[in-house]
Subunit: 297 residues, 2 copies
């Protein structure tokens, strides 16, 4: 099944909530950290973040069909962290989540293909393929241009996967280059038009395609504008919750059929507790339930 | 010593050649591949690419003071590949190379800091720091804007490291967004001006700073233009050799004092042989010697 249709199925079943997995050693429940002392520090922290993510996926499963591991927090722990990422991706897939690997990769030609193969089909070694992250989708950065995006599209298409291209991000300084006005419209609109064109040939049964766009929730007017400019493009919307976007803000990203957007919450859902709180699991469940209810189209 | 001064020292000693390490299993010498069969494929390939990179560093050492491992080819092999990257970075540092980790990372806030800590100071776990890649410099992508770049600058400054910001890349489709004209100049010039401003407070004894720019060799006119626009910024110049830029083209990136540019060659220096060639080592040495001679200011 094409990526877009698998995503539509997840959103129809559980709603648009995507749980961002941004695990940090110092924020983990003390109970989980306590289990892993006595190993080399990177190994200790990597095992603890994997444990935490596995537990969080179990807790949020009733309320969300999509998870988004943030590659940086795994890379921070080196090879042991990448082992943790592999475990998390594997369990997410086995648990039926659609997985978006948030790595914002961007490079050209065979280098882009290497990142895409790591994310999707796996590494070709002699006559076999070895899967690596096995993600349903990957976030990518468009700055390097056409031939930095196309290898990801080719690899995604061959493996029935998707990409989300950064268009308009949710951070306060995002406008420095994204808002420069060229030919009467900001750079991010030029990127949006390229995304719409890349997406068009991939539109599947659900009426949306496999080439999505990242559009921050902290700019509701732009969210509305970009929803209209890319009517058949899936939007991945960060910035809801801890970053300040409200449920009302993000609903501008939904299409009339209730599809079209995946709304990410990371800290708001996964860290609504103090590390010493013995009830941290109940708080994660409650935060996921609340977010899922708020976001219902 | 600040990054810029360490880089100047390397260029004064050995010239501006930077050897790009983009190792691919299928291109490795048959003799190296043959040593590693019998393991799981990702592990087999990861050990082989590490072996190859260690050998290449030994061969090019007389001709180059800078190496640039390409993160994608290590990530392609998953956690085992990241182990190989760690070995390569460690040996590069021990061998006295200045290391540029070519990962083109780009994210915001604490996520950017996680990538930067992985590259530079290491992961903070309780009261200790564990180094991860321990790179002298990291390539970064500016599309996400001010607060996507500043965490890298802060982390680099704290650890005496540097960054190279993508400004104008060497790929055929680079112009799609980089060449859009805003306020009378292309986007890449806006990025160049931001880089010059970020770099200004870091200018060290050598007259250059710690915030460099990636500018492709396949656009010599732009290379000249950007050299003039960013007189105290180190330029990292890809595209020389296999990608079509000539030694004459890239010399536009040098300042009158012979400093100011690092010129990368990946395939041209590291893969000038057929995998079955028993003389592959001599060919790598000869390719490095030739590139170093051509590039001398």
């Amino acid at each position: 099944m094409p990526f877009a249709d698998r995503l539509a199925d997840a959103v129809r079943r559980k709603g648009p909530l995507c749980v961002g997995l941004d695990p940090r050693w110092e924020s983990l429940p003390t109970a989980i950290r306590g289990r892993h002392y006595g190993r080399p520090p990177l190994d200790q922290a990597a095992r603890a973040i994997a444990d935490f993510c596995l537990k969080v996926m179990h807790l949020v499963g009733p309320f969300a069909g999509i998870v988004k591991p943030q590659a940086a927090f795994f890379e921070l722990l080196g090879p042991a962290g990448m082992d943790a990422l592999k475990s998390v991706m594997l369990l997410a897939r086995d648990s039926g989540f659609v997985t978006i690997l948030d790595a914002k990769r961007g490079d050209i030609a065979t280098t882009a293909t290497a990142y895409a193969d790591a994310a999707f089909a796996g590494a070709q070694i002699d006559r076999g393929r070895s899967v690596v992250w096995d993600a349903d989708a990957l976030t990518i950065n468009p700055y390097l241009g056409r031939d930095a995006v196309e290898p990801f599209l080719t690899a995604a298409k061959a493996a029935d996967r998707g990409v989300f291209v950064l268009v308009r991000t949710s951070n306060p300084g995002a406008g420095l280059f994204q808002d420069l006005v060229c030919d009467g419209k900001p750079v991010y609109r030029h990127v949006a038009e390229a995304v719409a064109a890349w997406n068009a040939p991939t539109v599947g049964g659900c009426g949306l395609g496999d080439v999505g766009a990242v559009v921050g929730a902290t700019h509701p007017a732009e969210l509305r504008e970009l929803r209209a400019a890319m009517p058949d493009v899936w939007l991945l919307v960060p910035g809801y919750g801890a970053q300040g976007g409200t449920a009302a803000d993000v609903k501008a990203a939904y299409r009339p059929d209730g599809l079209g957007a995946v709304v990410n919450s990371s800290r708001g859902v996964t860290f609504p507790f103090h590390p010493d709180d013995p009830d941290w699991e109940a708080k994660v469940s409650a935060a996921a339930a609340k977010a899922a209810a708020e976001l219902r189209p």
